[in-house]
C-alpha cells in the first residue's frame, strides 16, 4: 500500500514561505515578495500582483493551457505526526483507520485539513506481540491556509499539488539511507529544522532563530549599523575584517536544539543566511566532535532554492525521492467511503420507503395464511358456541325448575309448633296442601299468620276446620308458594343456636339453605 504521491508531470515548481514566493519553470527561477495581513492571509493587492506576475512569468516561459504546479510550503502552520497504525487488509480499510486516527490526533477535523501521509519504515509486529503495525508520517495544514494560493493558481489556470518544502529540501539533499541528521532552513526571523532517521524525515520543528539574530549579533559585536551588518552577512562587504567571531553568541543559541540529534548527525544549512561561508564551520565548531555541517544553499545553483531544486529532482525521479502530497481538494480518499456510506443510507431509506408503501400488500401476502388458520380455528369454535348456548339454557332451566321443597318444609315446621302434620303434599308448580291436627282454633289462626308472614306463601286457605272428639281441631289447608322473585329472604337458624335462643335474641345466621341439618320439621 503506497501513499498518494504528486503527479508525474510538473510544469512549474513553487516554494511558498512567509514572505517570499519563489517559482522555477524550466531553468528560470523567479521570486516575489509577499504581503500578509495580521491574520497571516495574503492581502488583496498582493494576491492581484502575484497573479499578474505569475501570468507574466508563465507567458515568458511559453506555458499555455492547464498547467500542473508542485508547491512546497514552509513548515509554519503545518503539523507533522508520526502514527503507528494496525496493518489493514485493504486500502479502504487502511484509509478508514488513518482517517479515524487523524481525527483523534489533530484538533481539527480531517475535512478541514489538507493532509497527506507517507510510510515510515517497514511494517512489523507490535511490541507486545500483537497484530502487525505500520508507521506513517502524517502532515496536515488547515485547508483555509491554502485558499489564497489556490485562488491565485486558479486565476492562472494552474492545478496545484502541495507538499512540504522541508521534505523537498530533504529530497534535494538525498541523505544516505543509513544517515541521521537534519536540515536547518534559516529564514529571516525563524528556522525550520527537519530531523531524519534511517527511515526518513521524522519531525519538523520551527525555531525562533533566523537571519535577524545574525544581523543583530554583527551590529552589537562589530558596532555596525543595520545596513552594513546585512551587507556583511550576505558577504557583500568583502573588505571587512573577520566577523565569524562576532556571530558566535548568536550561533551558540542553536546548539541546544541541535545537540539532541546526537554525535554522527549531519546538519545541512539552507536559506539566505546560510550563504555566509563562515556559518557552517562555526556551527560545527560549536557543536563539537561527531557533528558535521554543510551548506546546501549554494548547491541549489540556478534552481533558486534547495526546495525548488528538490521538487525538480523528485519530479525527475519520483520513486527515488517521493514527496508527501497534501491533498487540498475534498478528501476523496475518505469521502469516497463516506460517499458510499451516504449512498448506502440513501438506498436503505429508499428501500424503507418502498417497504412502507408496499406494507399493506406485503402484509396480505405474508400474513394471509396465518389469518386463514386463525379464521378456521374461530369457525371451529363457532360450533362449540352453539353447544355452550344449549348447555346454558338446559342448566338454567334445570335450576329454575328445582322447587324449594326443603325451604318450604323448614318454614312449615317452624310455623307448626305443637302441631301434628299429616299428610303434606307439594308440587313443582308451588301447590301445597296439608292436613294437620291443632290444639284449638287460635293455633290454626297463628299457623296461617306465620305462613303468610314468612313471605313465601300466598293464598293460604283453611279449606276445612273440624273439631275432634279429643277437643282438638282437624284442619285441611292449601297454599301457593310465591314465585322466586316475590319470596322473602329465608333466615335459617342452626340447631346449636336454637338451643340458646331462649336466652338470647335470635340473630340472622345466613341466607336460605337446603342443609338437612338446619331444616327439621316437627312431625
Amino acid at each position: 500500500m503506497t501513499a498518494p504521491g504528486l503527479p508525474q508531470n510538473a510544469d512549474i515548481f513553487i516554494e511558498i514561505s512567509h514572505d517570499t514566493w519563489a517559482a522555477l519553470c524550466g531553468h528560470e527561477s523567479v521570486a516575489f515578495p509577499l504581503e500578509r495581513s495580521e491574520n497571516g492571509r495574503l492581502t488583496d493587492l498582493c494576491r492581484e500582483r502575484l497573479t499578474q506576475r505569475l501570468r507574466g512569468f508563465l507567458s515568458r516561459q511559453g506555458k499555455r493551457g492547464r498547467l500542473t504546479a508542485w508547491c512546497a510550503l514552509e513548515a509554519r502552520g503545518v503539523s507533522l505526526r508520526r502514527l503507528s497504525l494496525p496493518a489493514a487488509s485493504s486500502k479502504e480499510e487502511f484509509h478508514r483507520i488513518l482517517h479515524l486516527q487523524i481525527e483523534s490526533e489533530f484538533p481539527v477535523s480531517p475535512q478541514e485539513l489538507a493532509w497527506g501521509w507517507r510510510a515510515v519504515g517497514a511494517s512489523g509486529p507490535a511490541a507486545n506481540g500483537g497484530a502487525p503495525r505500520r508507521d506513517v508520517m502524517v502532515a496536515a495544514v488547515k485547508r483555509e491556509m491554502l485558499e489564497d494560493y489556490e485562488r491565485i493558481f486558479s486565476a492562472c489556470g494552474i492545478s496545484p499539488f502541495f507538499t512540504l518544502a522541508a521534505l523537498a529540501r530533504a529530497a534535494f539533499y538525498a541523505a544516505p539511507s543509513a544517515s541521521r541528521g537534519a536540515i536547518l532552513h534559516i529564514g529571516r526571523t525563524g528556522a525550520e529544522l527537519v530531523s531524519f532517521e534511517q527511515s526518513g524525515p521524522v519531525a519538523i520543528r520551527l525555531l525562533p532563530w533566523g537571519g535577524e539574530n545574525l544581523t543583530r549579533a554583527l551590529q552589537e559585536e562589530l558596532g555596525l549599523n543595520r545596513e552594513e551588518a546585512e551587507k556583511l552577512k550576505r558577504g557583500e562587504n568583502t573588505g571587512a575584517k573577520e566577523w565569524s567571531g562576532a556571530l558566535e553568541p548568536a550561533v551558540a543559541l542553536l546548539v541546544p536544539w541541535l545537540k539532541p540529534l546526537g554525535a554522527g548527525a549531519t546538519i545541512s544549512l539552507t536559506g539566505k543566511p546560510a550563504r555566509d561561508p563562515s556559518l557552517a564551520p562555526l556551527l560545527r565548531q560549536l557543536l563539537g566532535e561527531g557533528f558535521s555541517c554543510a551548506n546546501l544553499e549554494v548547491a541549489a545553483g540556478n534552481e533558486g532554492t534547495p526546495a525548488l531544486a528538490g521538487l525538480k529532482k523528485s519530479a525527475a525521479n519520483p520513486s527515488a525521492f517521493p514527496l508527501l502530497l497534501l491533498d487540498a481538494k475534498e478528501d476523496t480518499r475518505v469521502v469516497a467511503p463516506d460517499g458510499l456510506a451516504a449512498w448506502k443510507w440513501a438506498a436503505a431509506a429508499a428501500v424503507l420507503a418502498l417497504i412502507i408503501l408496499c406494507f399493506p400488500y406485503l402484509e396480505s401476502v405474508l400474513l394471509a395464511p396465518r389469518l386463514e388458520k386463525k379464521l378456521a380455528s374461530l369457525n371451529a369454535e363457532k360450533g362449540r358456541l352453539e353447544t355452550i348456548d344449549e348447555e346454558l339454557a338446559f342448566l338454567q332451566n334445570l335450576k329454575q325448575e328445582q322447587p324449594p321443597y326443603l325451604d318450604a318444609l323448614y318454614l312449615l315446621a317452624g310455623a307448626a309448633q305443637g302441631t301434628r302434620l299429616e299428610p303434606l303434599s307439594m308440587s313443582r308448580h308451588g301447590d301445597v296442601s296439608l292436613r294437620a291436627t291443632m290444639a284449638n282454633g287460635q293455633q290454626v289462626t297463628d299457623f296461617r299468620s306465620k305462613l303468610i308472614d314468612s313471605g313465601w306463601f300466598a293464598n293460604v286457605v283453611v279449606e276445612e276446620q273440624t273439631p275432634t272428639q279429643d277437643r282438638h281441631v282437624s284442619v285441611r289447608m292449601t297454599a301457593q308458594l310465591k314465585p322466586l322473585a316475590a319470596r322473602k329472604e329465608l333466615i335459617v337458624e342452626s340447631s346449636a343456636k336454637k338451643t340458646t335462643a331462649e336466652k338470647e335474641p335470635p340473630t340472622k345466621s345466613g341466607t336460605a339453605t337446603n342443609s338437612p341439618a338446619a331444616v327439621k320439621p316437627k312431625s
Partner: protein
C-alpha cells in the same frame, strides 16, 4: 484482457439501467400492483371478519363461566349424558342415594316423559324412613349428576313406625337431547 470501463461508460450504463427499470415499472407495474391490491382488499375483509368473530367468542366467555359454575353445582356435564341409558342410570342413582341415606325403598314406577315438555321419563318413587334420611334424599337428588326435577312430593306418617315418614315423589328426568337445536332437513 478486459478493458476497465471509463467513467462516461459507467454513467451511461447507470442511466440505461434506470431507464429500463422505469420502463418495466410503467408497463408491468400496474397489473402487478392491481393483483396485490386485490389481495390486500381480500385480506382486509378477512381481518374484519376475524375481528367480529373474536368479539362474538369473547362474549361467550361469560356464558362459558356460568355453564361451568352450574355444571359444578349439579355435578353434571350435559354433553356426557347418553339418552339410551339416561333413565336407567338415573333410577339406579336415585335408589342408591335413598339406600345410602337409610331410606327403605318402596315401589318404583317408570313411565315415558312428555316430549313436549322435553322430558325423557317420569319416575314414581315411594319409600319410608327417618326424617333425616328423607331430607337427605331431597337434598341429594339435586347433586345426583342427572337432570332430575321433583314434580310432586308427598309426606305422610308411617303408621307402622311413628318415628318414620313415608315419602312419595314424582321425579321428572329431563332430556338434554331435546334441548339441542334440531338440524333442518335439507329440501328434497
Amino acid at each position: 484482457m478486459k478493458r476497465a470501463l471509463t467513467d462516461q461508460e459507467k454513467r451511461t450504463i447507470r442511466i440505461g439501467t434506470v431507464l429500463v427499470a422505469v420502463y418495466l415499472a410503467l408497463f408491468f407495474g400496474k397489473p402487478i400492483w392491481k393483483h396485490f391490491a386485490t389481495r390486500a382488499e381480500a385480506y382486509q375483509t378477512q381481518v374484519a371478519q376475524a375481528k367480529s368473530m373474536r368479539q362474538v367468542v369473547q362474549a361467550y366467555e361469560d356464558k362459558a363461566l356460568v355453564v361451568k359454575k352450574l355444571m359444578e353445582e349439579f355435578h353434571m356435564d350435559p354433553a356426557t349424558l347418553k339418552r339410551a341409558t339416561l333413565v336407567a342410570e338415573t333410577s339406579a342413582a336415585i335408589q342408591k342415594a335413598a339406600g345410602a341415606g337409610g331410606l327403605q325403598t318402596g315401589p318404583i314406577r317408570e313411565s315415558s316423559g312428555r316430549s313436549s315438555a322435553k322430558e325423557a321419563a317420569t319416575i314414581q318413587f315411594e319409600g319410608s324412613g327417618p326424617v333425616p334420611a328423607v331430607l337427605a334424599l331431597l337434598h341429594n337428588l339435586q347433586t345426583l349428576g342427572f337432570p332430575v326435577v321433583i314434580d310432586t312430593l308427598q309426606l305422610t306418617a308411617d303408621p307402622k313406625n311413628p318415628m318414620a315418614l313415608k315419602v312419595s315423589m314424582t321425579i321428572l328426568v329431563l332430556d338434554f337431547e331435546a334441548w339441542k337445536k334440531k338440524e333442518e332437513a335439507p329440501n328434497a
